[in-house]
Symmetry: C3
Subunit: 182 residues, 3 copies
């Protein structure tokens, strides 16, 4: 069998920003977002916008949030980003209005081609449409589109797309029941 050789890994990632901006964001994220010590959403939203994120009105951002590239992030009005949420957006992450990303949930956009010795990076965008709820400690895999008001329960892992108004549960997450809003 052939073997992976990570020394041959091709650096194909388009970070979408120059080195200075990357470095500034790295420390801004560390000091302001992924921290306890500036617990004011409005400041964090302002900072994210300054670095190119599209952030709607009344977005709530709790402490210890980790965001890779603000310029690849869009968040709609009234959405909540819970404590300890990790948005690893090497690729575009688009979050709709009135979404709730509960505490400790993780969004991952990066994958690797494990069938190649060079282990090439593959990134895929993630979309959470309006009203989606990611339960505490849940995870969303690269390329997932969670349709309108889809719901991923606590600790579940979404490996595939999620249908609108549907509750997903388990690891890997499977359809559990419909979400009916009265």
């Amino acid at each position: 069998m052939k073997e992976t050789d990570l020394s041959s890994f091709p650096k194909t990632l388009n970070a979408g920003a120059g080195k200075v901006k990357l470095l500034l964001w790295y420390f801004a994220n560390a000091l302001v977002l992924n921290s306890y010590f500036l617990p004011i959403s409005i400041v964090k939203c302002w900072l994210l916008r300054l670095f190119g994120a599209r952030i709607g009105n009344s977005v709530v951002i709790k402490p210890r949030v980790n965001i890779k590239f603000p310029w690849k992030l869009s968040i709609g009005d009234n959405t909540w980003i819970g404590e300890g949420v990790w948005i690893d957006n090497l690729d575009q992450v688009t979050i709709g209005k009135n979404c709730c990303l509960s505490q400790g949930s993780i969004i991952i956009t990066g994958n690797h081609n494990y069938k190649k010795t060079t282990f090439d990076l593959i990134t895929k965008p993630i979309v959470l449409e309006d009203g989606v709820w990611l339960g505490a400690g849940s995870m969303v895999c690269p390329g997932v589109i969670a349709q309108n008001h889809a719901l991923l329960t606590m600790g579940s892992v979404a490996t595939h797309g999620m249908l609108a108004y549907t509750v997903y549960k388990g690891n890997p997450a499977v359809e559990y029941k419909k979400r009916i809003i009265e």
Copy 2:
């Protein structure tokens, strides 16, 4: 279908403390508990008691523990709270004697009524009776009562009550075998 509107979310949470106490605990938790830099259980137990927690004798609290409201927390004698444990106790969390919450385990008491456009908060207390063991990286959902010496294996997610002297495994966790103590 109707849509959630988080701008209409009713702030019904009874935090159980005034604003000054909440703010003081917020920073005490950040600086002393969820930190590496004061790795002495006795100080952390004293601090938790100062803020209203009921903490038994010989309780061990490892670094980087995150506790929401000490005044809604009770821990029995000899219990261990492992590194990186997150007790998100919007509601009462009652932990018995001789329990072990292993590293990275998470206890969540808050849920939302996802059938309402207002996404109302629902909190439910959690009880871990004497001798319960939560494995590393496991999660306990709101309302769970883990009876005497129940055991949740590493990385498992307890969505329902756990019977006494029984081992639960998987996500969602299911009964795996009996725990017989010789």
Copy 3:
């Protein structure tokens, strides 16, 4: 039924280092490894070697990595340790060449004898052979040997050994398909 009594827990762990070294590493890990503020792999590799780790060439160590005992760690050439990886190596952890431990993955070597009232510690070494990939947020349980180029998908929990060139998925992880490298 008998009950656990953690006050009778026998401290059998051989940490493999004296108190001064343990304390120095504790703070070095906190300040340099499990931090954002020294994001230079070469410094971290040097520090790990200084404390007794065997680290190959061109090893990449991302921010916020948590390592228990460097003197019980061996990492081969070109291996990547992702952001937020937690190697809780109470026992020896041996990682081969060209491995990728993705962000947030967790390696746990410690277990307890839950059939004894004294809850004795049981540690087991973990081996990740060359080319193994642990997906983001995945977990590896004590005693697991992941053979050559085994792959654990995102969020999965490996409770048993993993065969060479095989993809494992789910919690608990089960064989999913073969990993064929072209």
